[in-house]
Amino acid sequence: MEQKTQTGFKSGVPFAESAGAARPGAHPTAIEVADLDFFYGSRQALHGINMTMPAGKVTAFIGPSGCGKSTLLRCFNRMNDLVPSAWIGSGSIRIHGIDINGPNIDPIELRKKVGMVFQKSNPFPKSIYENVVYGLKIQGRANRAVLDEVVERSLRQAALWDEVKDRLHNSALALSGGQQQRLCIARAIAVEPEVLLMDEPCSALDPIATSKVEELIFELKKRYTIVIVTHNMQQAGRCSDYTGFFFMGRLIELDRTEKIFTNPAERQTEDYITGRFG
């Protein structure tokens, strides 16, 4: 496997230089949120969020619609920067020890390290091959041999290679919904992120395609830290190591998934996951 080059979120700055002693492996916590208050205009969407997400594990966010789980997910790669009314009131988010809202952080660099897969698959209207190498080409990497290698590796990691290896230059839009979603995952991991964010990645997929993506998540967590937002309780139970339950912008409970789904500490959590409210 190709050795991952650690770079920070500042353009051209190596990871070790910008993060000090904080390196993946030496730092078991991948993401650390401290006292985070987040607003859309005057409406507070997140209230005093404190949590850590360990490296190399899958953390699931669950909760009713509007509880703030997707908002928090988008904070991790500063996707909310693109929403004009969004602002952070107080608190911090550190990824591998780096304050991602610090003054010298380049959001574009951040997003290379913190990839995202969305609810609806969104392949570009290009070939399968071009979709996978899109991020690398933007980075200026055009060596054909390198790109070929990345395409094969990414598609293999996304469990899609065997299905598309003979038609890499066909349109990505001809793929099935499940294949398109796995292509988007391949595209996200082609740039070798450290964290992979997934916002309801299976909500538009049938059970077979969902099963494939879930198997993929299980494989990917060996290489990446994954945070997944899902409305599917069974999926959270099957896929994640840790689960956080959110309600009305607050983190109600965060614990090992096994604990949350067998004997949660909070009544609100139990009522939600057993379908008694929400």
Partner: protein, 221 residues
């Protein structure tokens, strides 16, 4: 308005309660058949055991159907596990009741060996354990379930004493052996019924507390 799934969970609980009341009744009748030398009570126990067997299967069918269609989580998943295990233990208690009833009929056909020693006292303790375990299940009180568990030791101790006294009677005269063996079997069946009542109490504790305390595992300090 309750969710449809709540009605299905209630149905599982009610089937368990029906099963427990029949089991409780059979255990009482079996002991009464012995104490009052009443074969009619013994016949009822043996005849109606099959109804409890069928209810055990019915509980398991409802549990597996609910699990397959609803994917229960947290306290609902614990209820599935507990319901299946409680029904299994109830069925075993009912089997012990039929053993007591059959041995009672055999004993009733002969003159009484001696006073029944401490067997009736054992039976009262076992029946109370079962009754309290079911009450804890109905009321959702894990403290009550936990307090049942040490009471099994008292039944075990009585069983040892009964066995010791019956051994002495057997050694006194060969004529006592058949009746003493029957009484020993009755005492053992009551002791096993108390074990099953303890198992039910442990399941009820797990159901409401989320902690497994079987075999002293995870006992709270």
């Amino acid at each position: 308005m309750s969710h449809p799934f709540e009605e299905q969970l209630t149905d599982i609980r009610e089937t368990l309660l029906l099963m427990s009341s029949l089991t409780d009744r059979n255990l009482s009748l079996a002991v009464r058949a012995l104490v009052n030398r009443n074969n009619g009570d013994a016949d009822v126990v043996v005849t109606e055991d099959s109804e409890i067997d069928e209810l055990e299967i019915e509980v398991d069918e409802k549990v597996i159907t609910y699990m397959a269609t609803h994917g229960p989580i947290a306290r609902d998943s614990r209820l599935m596990l507990a319901a299946s295990k409680i029904s299994g233990n109830l069925e075993r208690i009912a089997d012990q009741a039929t053993t007591i009833a059959r041995r009672a009929k055999a004993l009733n056909s002969e003159p009484p060996l001696a006073p029944l020693i401490e067997i009736p006292q054992m039976a009262v303790l076992a029946q109370r354990m079962l009754h309290d375990a079911i009450t804890a299940f109905v009321e959702g009180t894990y403290e009550m379930a936990r307090d049942i568990i040490p009471r099994d030791r008292e039944v075990d101790e009585l069983n040892r004493r009964v066995a010791h006294e019956l051994m002495a009677l057997m050694m006194q005269s060969p004529e006592n052996v058949t009746r003493a063996v029957n009484l020993m079997t009755v005492a053992k069946a009551i002791e096993r019924a108390a074990d099953h009542a303890q198992n039910i109490a442990e399941e009820v504790y797990y159901l409401y507390r989320g902690l497994d305390i079987r075999h002293d595992h995870g006992t709270e300090s």
